[in-house]
């Protein structure tokens, strides 16, 4: 079994209210080191069989069409992290 990680983020140019809220909280807590916070999503997709180009292509399609909404989000990463023992 292999796990494929898909990461999505709100589009850089759009408001990210959740990230903004966290950044505000950090500032209130007296942390001044961080310039901003943005919050995205991480999906862990487990694949039963071997991961080949066809599987990766399928993951990319799913990531772009279902896991993210291209109007408001970008897929920022797809990577295979864990190979089966």
């Amino acid at each position: 079994m292999t796990t494929i990680i898909v990461e999505t983020m709100p589009k850089a140019e759009l408001l990210d209210p959740q990230g903004k809220a966290v950044a505000g909280a950090l500032a209130r807590l007296g942390t001044s080191t961080f310039a901003s916070v943005r919050i995205g999503k991480r999906f862990e997709i487990v694949v039963d069989g071997p991961v080949d180009d066809a599987v990766l292509a399928e993951v990319r399609t799913v990531a772009e069409e279902i896991l993210s909404n291209s109007v408001i989000e970008d897929v920022v990463g797809i990577h295979v992290v864990e190979a089966a023992v």
Binding site: E13, P17, L67, N69, V71, I72
Partner: protein
């Protein structure tokens, strides 16, 4: 024959029975439709109601927009059938690309329930012809993710083509760009908005007005508009 308006129930739909009641009060016949079916049962118009379909866990309306019945909804919308998306229904219509833009978490971060004033910007859609142009109406708004966003180019186009149907007045309750509360497609048969017209149709259960508490029925014209529209097209 009475106009038949389908109201689709998805797992997690909440205001579906309220939309049915609004249709009935307006004088049409509500038809309960199920997300898992491929049958629109010959209805004349469609409503995608509010709620938290599938918990809105992926993105609001995202999973519902992939439901079996959405194939027929998209086809019907493209062939001119009036479709109204309210709140979660609006989110589904954007996820299904029947309407442009997207909806994100309110800028203040919290769910908000309030009586909201809207200006009717376009009375030339299937769902707004019974309003006066520029009229201010008050209907409930209740959402956690109602911030309307789109690229500047899209926003310019929506405004240029008169497809901004409703704008928030006095208070922008969720950070929607250009105070946009609701939009339509190019043909004007598909309309989506975040506020809830179905909760302002019955005296005693709507927003407070200057005359009496909970007497606001400004939402009724949505549903009477579509009756006229479908009768006119017969």
């Amino acid at each position: 024959m009475a106009t038949r308006v389908g109201v689709i129930t998805f797992p997690g739909s909440l205001d579906d029975r309220d939309a049915q009641r609004a249709v009935r009060i307006a004088g049409a016949e509500p038809v309960a439709l199920w997300h898992g079916s491929h049958d629109l049962e010959g209805v004349d118009a469609l409503i995608l109601p509010g709620g938290f379909s599938y918990g809105d866990y992926l993105r609001c309306g995202a999973i519902a927009s992939l439901s079996p019945i959405m194939t027929e909804v998209v086809a019907a919308a493209n062939s001119g059938m009036p479709v109204l998306g309210i709140c979660n229904g609006f989110q589904m219509l954007t996820e299904a690309h029947l309407l442009e833009g997207g909806l994100i978490r309110n800028d203040h971060g919290s769910f908000i329930c309030r009586d909201q004033v809207l200006r009717v910007e376009n009375t030339d859609t299937s769902w707004t012809r019974d309003f006066e142009a520029g009229e201010n109406i008050t209907i409930p708004l209740k959402n956690g993710e109602g911030g309307f966003i789109a690229s500047d180019e899209t926003l310019d186009r929506l405004e240029g083509e008169g497809r901004v149907v409703f704008r928030y007045v006095d208070v922008n309750p969720n950070g929607s760009l250009r105070d946009i509360a609701g939009i339509s497609n190019e043909r004007g048969n598909v309309v989506g908005l975040m506020p809830h017209p179905e909760h302002a149709v019955e005296p005693g259960f709507g927003p407070d007005t200057d005359v009496a508490m909970r007497s606001g029925v400004d939402g009724l014209a949505f549903f009477t508009s579509v009756i006229e529209r479908t009768l006119a097209s017969v």
